[in-house]
Each structure stands twice: as C-alpha cells, then as structure tokens.
Symmetry: C2
Subunit: 275 residues, 2 copies
C-alpha cells in the first residue's frame, strides 16, 4: 500500500451519501479537482460529498472539513455529520454515545446509538436554532412560504401535494430570486399527524434523496404555521428523519448506514476524471 | 479482514463504470439483491454493472460473469470486458498484451496496452461479427432503423441530430416492442467524416455515458447505410471509442481507467440498500 492513498469509507443517511477520509494528523490537502474526481459517480467513486475528519478544535473531539461534490467547501450537512460520526465510531477515533464535532457552522454534539446489525446506526445531531424569516404567503400559487436560516439558507414551500410539483423547474428558477442561491424544500403535511413529506432542491447540486438541514427547516416552518408540534417525522425521498424542535435548538435523528471501504490513489483517480 | 468481504476494483471505459470482483476459485454467489445493493449509486458503491472474474473455460485465460445494475445477468459488454481486462492485468491474473476471456456471448480476445500513467490503459477487444437485421426505414419519424445482434440485441436509430431526442421516453417505450428488451442507440453522422455521435439506452440500466456493444452496433448499421467506412470513431457522451469493422469481426478500442479499490461486506451493504 502506498502511503499517498486516500483510505475512505462510504456511508449514507437516507440516501444522502458521503465518503469520509480520516486525516487526524491534518496532513492531507484536498484540491477541488481531487474532490470532484472522487465524487463523480461515473468517472470516480461517487458521492454527494467528501468529508475530511481532522483532530478536534476548540476542545471538540473531532473536526469536519466538508466538501460538496462540485469541490467547494461547505459549512454543514446534517446527514454528512451523521456519516462522519459513523465513520469515526467504526474506526475507533471516538467512542459512542456522545462526542463533539467542530464544523464551519459551529460546534455540534453527536448522540450515537449502535444499530442491531453491523453497519447500522441511529445518529442524532444538534443542528442549532433555526432562524425563521417573515411569512411570504401566496408566493407560489396556493403555497405558503418562508425562509429559514440553519447556517445555510432555505426556502420552505408548503402545498397540498408534491406529485404535481416540477422540483427542477421551480428549484432552478428560485435561485435567481435569492442572491447566493437557496435550498428549496417542497413540503406537504402528512400522511400521518406530526409527519411531513418533502422533496428538496439543493443549491449547487439539484434534487437529492435527502437533506438534513432542509428537513429541520421544513419542520420549523411548518410548526410556525401551526400544522405540527415540536416532534416531527419528515419523509425524505431516500428515507425518514426525525426532528425535535427544542428551546435551545433542533435535534436531527435518523438511520446511518455503512456501505464499505474505498481506497484511491490521487494521481490515478485524477487521471480517470471526466474530461 | 473478514473472508466474506468482496474485494473489488472500480474502472470505467468512457464513463461506463464497473466494479470487478476477482473470484478465480469460483466460490462466490452473487444474488440479484447483492448486485443491486452494490451498484446503487446512493445506497451502495455505484456502478453500471458488477463483473465477477473466474478462471477460464474452454481454454480461455479468464471468464466473465457480468451482471447489470438491476441484478440481471448479461451476455457481454464491450466496456465491461475492457474494465475486466484492466482489473486482471493490474491484479496479475493475466499478463498483457494478449489474453482470452470466456463470455456468455462467446470467447473474446483482448489486446492490452499499458498507458503512460498509472491506472491508464488502451484496451482493444474483438466483439465478434455484428449480425444486421433487416432495414426498418421510417420506423420512428425521420430515423432509419435496424436491429443489430452482437450477442446482445440492439436497435440503431439514425437521425439528423440528437438534441431533440427524449432518450428515456423512447428507450423505455421500445422495450415493450422487443421481447426480452433491447439496447437502443440514437446516432447521428459526424461531426467529422468517419465519425458518429451516439446516445444510448441500455436495457436494465437506462441511459449510460457509453456502451461498447452499442458503439459497434451503431458503426455497423451506419456503414450498412453507406455513411461511413470500416474504421469509425464513435463519440459516446462519456468519451470516444474506435471501431474497426473487419472481415472476421469488429474490434472495439478505447481508453480504460482505474478509479480505485472497493471493499464491501455483503451483509452490511445489503443492510444499507434502498428500501
């Protein structure tokens, strides 16, 4: 084994998938080209993002260096940090149940429960306090709308059903209205009480199978409209996540799954990249 | 390391990506569920297909057990066998430049050239003799059409341009017309003389970035219509492949790239699978 190899593990939370690279000595430099090459689903390994895990900062147990599939650095991902947690526990970098992770959006606390079967975990993370923008009723047909800030910007649109929504068309169009772009959640109440069903358009990505911050944003907005309480189950296309909206912040909980181990040689995966 | 682990390498030919599992002792059983779980791009590793490599049969050096991403067994893939060749050479199971591979579509001969950089190769494979079906002019609007058999069934549709083609819609619809399904190539001549540009719908997969047998089928059909000669460059969405249509069969040549190594535990990747 050559020491320049990137040894990673792949995980997903509700289908939102990440490759996680342990770099506790902080020796690795990730160029945008390398991140794009690794995350490319046909010319590389394939993932929604790459997470480099370094030693803690400011007293935390670990730190998260999160990159989007397009190579850009990101502040925070609710599913990404849950995948980081699973990689860290399985590699023995931290011990469950509780540990803290530095992120660009602040320090986050993980509450980790090992699952029944190998590769399964239920992972909770505090997501900070959602900051609601003003209500924007009737912005889109019969949908109620409001912005929510969770360290990244969201626009939550409530409607009677999701089947008739053109997520790509509306999601793309709304980018132009929101300087810097916005993550758009299309949400409907149900099917059961205290449940929501969601589709999400992530800025810089497109429609995804699940979005952790979007899930919390949707729960916070819909609670502000009085349709759910403080404990909400949110059905993302890739799986169901739970949100607890507390006095001091929101907690996001859900299943996290290990896929397997991945090793790439930077020069090789760069040579394989899309031209 | 647990012995039940599947140790694979990932490769692509023009963006047509495969995970390759060495099983020279023929001890592994691949269930459709396991293949689907591994090939899923969000809940698994992600690939167009999984190839199990076993010891040769009928005097060949190796044998190819090819599975589509949907779990079904496939006869032959031009890019898949080129990826198998790269995995086999890099693992030392065979020595370049020439070796033979048993496939469900017959015995294939590989001509392997190591590339300049690590993980790069140019790989040629004999694809057998394309068997042309009858011309079916005007089957779809202004497109000429004919079936081509390359061990697997193809329908080649020639048209003036590809930008207006709804590949998914037409590709799906044509499955119903062809019992057992069909791979559909939408092809246009150019941009240069002796070149074709192609988009492809693979049965059991969907639209892919490249298709080796489809590339040969397209070249053979378009030559039958008199628009190209016996040496054709075919631009697939993921890269360019070359076809030589000879007296005794077609040769497909193109770049093959190693992405990296992948290891999964069957029980774990199955637990991570899409519900």
């Amino acid at each position: 084994m050559n020491d320049s190899r990137l040894r990673m593990t792949k995980h997903h939370g509700a289908g939102n998938d990440f490759v996680v690279l342990g770099d506790l000595d902080d020796r690795r430099t990730l160029t945008p080209d390398l991140v794009r090459a690794v995350c490319d689903r046909h010319f590389g390994v394939g993932a929604d993002g790459l997470i480099r895990v370094t030693a803690g900062r400011d007293g935390t147990d670990l730190a998260m260096d999160l990159r989007n599939a397009d190579g850009s650095a990101a502040e925070m991902s609710g599913n990404g940090i849950r995948c980081l947690a699973q990689a860290a526990v399985e590699a023995g970098w931290v011990a469950p149940p509780q540990f803290t992770v530095w992120t660009r959006a602040g320090v986050r606390t993980i509450d980790y429960r090992v699952g029944e079967r190998s590769g399964e975990a239920d992972v909770a993370v505090d997501m900070g306090q959602p900051v609601l923008g003003p209500d924007q009723p009737q912005q889109f047909a019969d949908r109620r709308a409001r912005t929510v800030d969770l360290g990244n910007p969201h626009l939550v649109l409530l409607g009677p059903d999701l089947s008739s929504v053109d997520v790509a068309e509306l999601g793309t169009r709304l980018q132009a209205v929101h300087p810097g772009g916005v993550n758009v959640e299309f949400v409907t109440a149900g099917p059961e009480p205290e449940e929501l069903t969601l589709r999400v358009w992530e800025r810089g990505v497109g429609e995804t199978l699940a979005c952790g911050t979007g899930t919390v944003a949707a729960a916070a907005a819909v609670r502000s409209w009085g349709l759910v309480g403080s404990r909400v189950r949110v059905h993302n296309p890739g799986g169901t996540l739970q949100v607890e909206l507390g006095e001091t912040g929101a907690i996001l909980t859900g299943p996290t799954r290990t896929v397997g181990a991945v090793e790439v040689e930077p020069a090789v995966v760069l040579a394989a990249a899309r031209r």
